[in-house]
Amino acid sequence: MSDAFWTVVWTFNYIVLGYFIVLHVVYLGTSLFAFRALRAYALRLKSLDLTDLITSAWAPPITLIAPAYNEEATCVESVRSLLTLEYPDYEILVVNDGSKDATVERLKEAFNLYEASRVPTAELESAEVRRIFRSRRHPNLWVIDKENGGKADALNAGLNHCQTPLFCAMDADSLLEPEALIRIVRPFLEDADTIAAGGVLRIANGCTVRQGRVVDVRLPKKLLPRLQVLEYLRAFLAGRMGWDALDATLVISGAFGIFKRDVVVSAGGYSTDTVGEDMELVVRMHRYCRENEIPYRIHFVPDPVAWTECPESLAVLGRQRDRWQRGLFQSLLRHRVMLLNPRYGRAGMVAFPYFFFLEMLGPVIEFLGYFSFTVTILSGRADWPFVIAFLCVAMVLGVALSLAAVALEELSFRRYPRMSDLLALFTLTLIENFGYRQLSAWWRLKGTVSALRGKEGWGHMVRTGFNVEAEEGAP
């Protein structure tokens, strides 16, 4: 083969090496920031009785907006859980997004709903609202029944009917911890410039749920969900905490985030033409506030928790990751004007380039690198000791970063109380390097390709249901 070809191959090899080093330096950097921030936060929690502070004073009213699509199996349990939240003043808007099953009927039956009137207070575009119901038993529970339009469309319908200064966007099948609202609202009290705050998602597979509450936290029994537990710890405790410490939060999970209603409405509400509406909204809020010179802060809060069920099969997990990657791609491309643009502060100069070059383009670089690396090895031009040393660095760095996330969990919240769970997490930091990481990279590449090809839609998500403990007296 020609010299030019080998020049290209070697260049790719070095690009991959550079990408790899930069990526892990960023990971390590955010982990270190997270260490510092979480340690301070844990001490702060110890030194301050948040519940006392908030419940004894004014707490801003909040509307929980929970879009539901074909949730007949879980909606009643989820709404019951929402009704037991410990917060002085909140409303629940369940938005039935044109379900084809009996979601609305189940809710009507369980909560004694009657048709009610509620005029919109905003005019965000959304599919037609068919009927609105209110519960006789729980006057703070409303159900909006609308034509199908997707999650973002349902959130917009909920926002149109939201009458409180704050709203909480969540998944109808997530379980919020009783104190979650009290904890997540704190930044809004301490800093009037706060426009959004995100909480932590934790995996409920394997945990025991009683009356809508997670009462016994355990690691899932199956390997795939277990690996996702580790992944979530890394993403939330090391990643998002680190970005928050840098004041450059660019992502708030759609399953649990709280926002200032007026800012979201002014910024245009949720975008219905992306599958990453949660990230797109946060990026747009950064942009909107910067462009309109509105002082603002977006926070990540590490102790309010929403429990969610994660995929248990490779096929479903692959579809989920494909969607996440498409959402990332669409959000970043739409707001590419922010890239390395000082007008957008740290969001534009630090967080955006990280997500753009390392998270969005990363899978492409990684796979081109795998290709050129393979070619180099097959041609016999590889320097084997160096290849082996490089692979060792890759693996040990991955393990170290995962262990750092486990240590962060121990430093802060210790949700997995058994020593066996801790040891299992240690083991997972090794196991995930053999297949899981590569699969993740492959799904992300597929997601990038799907985004480039203009694929739309969420893909079918199969849920197995929470491990619900039978109530006393039940057969």
């Binding site: 004073a57 004014w58 009137s117 800093d191 009037a192 031009r381 000791p385 660095v393 240590a407 801790l422």
Partner: protein
């Protein structure tokens, strides 16, 4: 790959070893944290078992307070204070006083911690003294208002703002500029919690044009929370000088809606047209609360406001001003106004 030199290979190997060491350190750190926490939890459970009965007995019979102190070894004094603090948060009155007596011998040590270099330790100390040490340790808690850490000053303010200690009101009011970044309603609720003793100061602040608008808005909200009837006239006076300060105007209108009298509608009416959405909405609300049928034309016109918020407030105002019958007729028509009328009637009358 390009053939690499031995030195590059040695460097990579060194990196591998270094990261390996870091990984092992992370694991050890996590294990040590787990072991440390488990031990602490076990110790706390043991101490709780030891103290719970005697402390409950002392609460029931304060003469037995002195029986408890011998059960608190020197090295566990701070654990004891923490234990009592957890109880103290749940009780008031005589029971709280008994708990104060229980920890009294240990509070000097807590007071020293208000000088600790770490803000979190100072916060904890101020919180403990605020709960169990007032008024004796008021000097330390008041000093917290000037602490460089916002966390300490926030906790200090929260514990000083209590109706049983009106004497701290002036000091707290003097430090309000430290809390500019706080949520306005949160700050107002803190001031309102101090009780009617501070109302005259709040009323004076309301009409003081030299005060920053955000602070005057906080005063207005605090007076509203106190339902202070005497603040209606100062609110009208302040309203005439708000200019472009829409948040202040909105707070004053909310206050007027809560405590105003019919003669105040003249001050409200001009604000229903033009201006910011929030000001129009609160004007309609105040007009409805203070006015009567004579205000209905303005309120019905408000139901056509471009802002759905302002329109909703106008409809509610119309209902409050005695327009229910007309709203019922309107509800049978077609269009947005009919829907609004239907909603506000529904809010009052239910299904």
């Amino acid at each position: 790959m390009n053939p690499v030199s031995d030195s590059a290979l040695a460097l990579v190997s060194l990196i591998v070893v270094a990261i390996l060491v870091i990984a092992i350190l992370f694991s050890l750190y996590a294990i040590l944290l787990r072991v440390g926490h488990s031990r602490r939890e076990a110790l706390q459970a043991e101490l709780q078992d030891r103290w719970e009965g005697p402390v409950l007995s002392a609460i029931a019979d304060p003469a037995r307070v002195s029986d408890v102190h011998p059960l608190v070894p020197q090295r566990y004094r701070m654990h004891f204070v923490q234990f009592v603090l957890d109880y103290a948060r749940r009780v008031r009155g005589a029971e709280r006083r008994t708990l104060r007596r229980l920890v009294e011998p240990y509070l000097d040590e807590i007071a020293e911690r208000t000088q600790h270099p770490r803000a979190e330790v100072r916060t904890r100390a101020v919180q403990t003294l605020g709960t169990l040490g007032l008024p004796k340790y008021s000097k330390e808690v008041l000093a917290g208002l000037e602490d460089p850490s916002p966390l300490v000053s926030m906790v200090s303010a929260r514990y000083l703002a209590r109706p049983e200690f009106p004497e701290f009101g002036p000091a707290l009011m003097d430090h309000l500029d430290r809390f500019e970044g706080w949520n306005r309603f949160f700050l107002a609720s803190m001031l309102a919690a101090m009780g009617p003793e501070v109302s005259p100061v709040l009323r004076d602040g309301l009409v003081d044009g030299a005060q920053p608008p955000w602070l005057r808005a906080v005063y207005a909200e605090a007076l509203r929370m106190q339902v202070d009837a005497r603040s209606a006239d100062p609110a009208v006076e302040a309203l005439s000088t708000v200019g472009e300060q829409r948040d202040l105007a909105a707070s004053l209108l909310r206050l007027l809606a809560a405590v105003g009298r019919p003669e105040h509608v003249d001050a409200v009416r001009p604000l229903c047209n033009g201006g910011a959405e929030i000001v129009r909405a609160q004007s309609f609300h105040a007009l409805g609360m203070l006015g009567d049928e004579r205000e209905l034309p303005l309120l019905f016109a408000g139901m056509e406001d471009d802002s759905p918020w302002a329109a909703l407030h106008a409809a509610r105002g119309a209902r409050e001003a005695g327009g229910a019958t007309l709203l019922r007729e309107m509800a049978h028509e077609e269009g947005d106004r009919a829907r609004l009328a239907g909603q506000v009637l529904f809010e009052e009358e239910g299904a």
